[in-house]
Subunit: 264 residues, 4 copies
């Protein structure tokens, strides 16, 4: 639906995108499946772990850039696997070098190998340094509204709170904190992590998120390509519903006022 | 996505449909908006209240059949506003007469003008009679799995449990009863009533519903046409996600087993 | 807290009770545990399956009446295991005979051995007959507000909707239907079935239920006596909270109005 | 039930308590109501804002210490109203002075006057300093498991994550993060903020929290004393249920395994 895409673009820094579904490239069977799923998802921004993905350093292995050419996709190198600011910063510099000066990166500094929760202290430190070095930083963080604002103040170009732990598939756990972040941000808020199925993505968008990033939910589905298509439609559905203005929730059609929060 | 539609049709009685989103025709500004919203929703089956809608009986008023011609849409006359079996049966017979022998109808017998909950006793009685008279009965009912089975045994061609009260926009209130109905039905189970926004429709489909019917959620939205498009995408997203096989829900990616229901 | 109990009794028919926690007698290790759990729960009304429990018919087996003497407890014979009205009516007559004219009974007519959902059609038929025969009928039913009202109109002395399937431990699945039943009933509404843990019981009471009946949640806990005590406190807590008038739910303390149902 | 209290004490630092319900002293009508509610709640630890409460500095005003004598209650001075580490540290030192060397304090450093979310960066800084100065720090924080562990590593004697914004009454928003914190902590985890009614407190305890702290939910109820009693029972109920080992959640009693998280 190109007509729609044009009148409601996602703006990240100076770039504009038609798709609001960002996808990861890991966990697929092979790069062919990565490519097909990316196409089915209609993604324009694709993220990959700099420390795990071959961009040509190893000429004997498949190269991500062949599957997802930078001429067609906006590559988003990420710092998955980094546990402190220094590591994350080094990784971003490496990505810039490998990609000829590319500055758009996704910063994630993990606190824990088991839960993959972010370490927000190290994340803040890394974000400050990276912004100072001219990177455009999209930042994975917790759903803490105070930290989200601080990351925006530092100059991050997108705030990416988790909906639930990476790879958990639990869906949006705390709608109020996300809403708090969304309503107070001037940069895009993109849910990163925790989405399990299509309705989770739709809910994120209905809350007012600017986009959703996911990997496991697609790559780990029984049929990744069909799930990629589902997610594409879900993100569009949620965005449209958000813009269309849903009906209020009421006890019944004849109720005179929306439910008042006494139940639920 | 016509390729997809072909390989996963919705079968109701002898008919096949590509769309799994059924829409109501009431509550729109005028019949023009009804038509545009129906088109945006991609609906093939459209329901209308026999007792409220003009099918040409009154030649001075706009005629639904002009807006939604039976050559293009499968009309689904419904018995909205009927409070006992006798009334509902009479209404169906009237519809058959007005529509030249049309037999596909949506039976709803209400228990209460305030909540619009079904009166399941009268519904059962009416369903038995209508099936005996050769109607193909799609039946609005509660989410009671025992009654759903009985309605199927009577010969109804689709079971249509409410997700929440008509017009409430509360979304799916009881996933377990719906799942119970879906897993034990051989005819399509179509959520009828209660959907408020796109994710609600996606959730219904992810549970395994064969379709979703809605009216207020579209007609009552701030922008009905945009919401119609959202719902179309949401139903498709939910269906695809259901077929694609979602990832299990786990505490975190490294958890060895899905969550065991001790939380939530 | 006897002072409290006195000023807020549970009235069922002509009887008054201080405790709002009704307990089942089955699934315990032995009748001694049944007795101790009943005491720990502070229950005054105890229910038992007429078809399974020995009230002295078999003199070689332990007798429920020794463990829970009718002088101390109000016995509530139930029709568990009955799948049609005739069976349930016969069972109630048998109970009346065994208990010397006792008329207070819990009617349950099941629709299905797997889910233990009620068969509401047979339940209605049995309730009509039993009321006509002078029984005081407390009735297990679905959470259908229209049927609940009809059971009340027939003359049942308490409406006992399920919160979730018997023995499921899923907790309150549909707060809106329960609320609808509660707000429109003049007889006590007692949640029967589905409670899994203490907070479930508290939630039922906070919705305005007059009481909660449970068996598996106590008998199936790792420590049934401790869980019995937990449930006693939970029912009291929920009742007190209901009467005390909780604070509204708001986005934050400084919000000017309660949440409007747009989230959740 | 003193027998119970003895065998399951709450241990904070070197102190032991029988009650797991901690209460605030603000927002009541007057100090008399504060005292009566505290008694009804059975609280042993009572918190107050050092910057707002009169401990005798103003001899013309009612003195909190008269209503809640330190001989009977463990006073817990808190830093409500502080927005940076320096302010919070000064406030704790003032409390120590006013209370003759008292070292147990509740640290809260707010990030925002509207949401009252914590500023976790300033909280960490203050906690480090206060522990170094010999304070026993109970610390209000977000539900971030990584930060919770860091606060424990610093030497805080209790971790007090919010369940929802202070004064919101929204109840537990994210059970998984709380569970993550609880399962990995060696010091007590006490939910601080967000509880609205009795079942919320029970749920917190069922998750395994060591205690619950609340103020608005009691002081803001229509009948604060009755709500205080409700909360006392709810905390006890939740604790007992946690220790008693609840039944698993299953689709129905006959299901062979607990629900697998595919629904909900």
């Amino acid at each position: 639906m190109p007509a729609h895409a044009c009148d409601d673009p996602l703006q990240i820094g100076v770039r504009q995108f038609n798709s609001r579904l960002l996808t990861g490239t890991g966990k697929f069977k092979d790069l062919r499946e990565t490519r097909l799923a990316t196409e089915a998802a209609g993604a324009e921004i694709v993220t990959f772990a700099v420390r795990r993905m071959n961009l040509g350093q190893d000429a004997t292995q498949p190269n991500l850039l062949d599957a997802l050419p930078p001429t067609r996709y906006t590559l988003l190198p990420n710092t998955a696997g980094c546990y402190d600011a220094a590591e994350a910063i080094r990784t971003c510099r490496l990505a810039r070098e490998l990609l000829d000066g590319h500055t758009l990166i996704k910063l994630e500094v993990l606190g824990d190998a088991r839960t993959l929760f972010p370490n927000v202290i190290e994340t803040l430190a890394a974000a400050e340094q990276l912004v100072a070095e001219g990177f455009e930083v999209m930042v994975y963080t917790s759903d803490d509204p105070i930290l989200a604002r601080r990351l925006e103040d530092i100059g991050c170009v997108a705030i990416m709170p988790l909906a639930a732990p990476i790879g958990s598939g639990l869906g949006i756990q705390n709608r109020y904190t996300l809403l708090e972040i969304i309503e107070n941000a001037k940069v895009p808020v993109i849910v990163d992590a925790g989405v399990g199925t299509a309705s989770d993505a739709a809910i994120a968008m209905e809350l007012g998120c600017a986009g959703v990033l996911m990997n496991t939910a697609i790559a780990g589905a029984r049929d990744p390509l069909l799930m990629a298509r589902a997610m594409r439609a879900a993100v569009q559905a949620g965005r449209d519903a958000y813009r269309a203005g849903r009906i209020p929730r009421k006890r019944c059609a004849s109720a005179s006022s929306p439910i008042d929060g006494m139940v639920g």
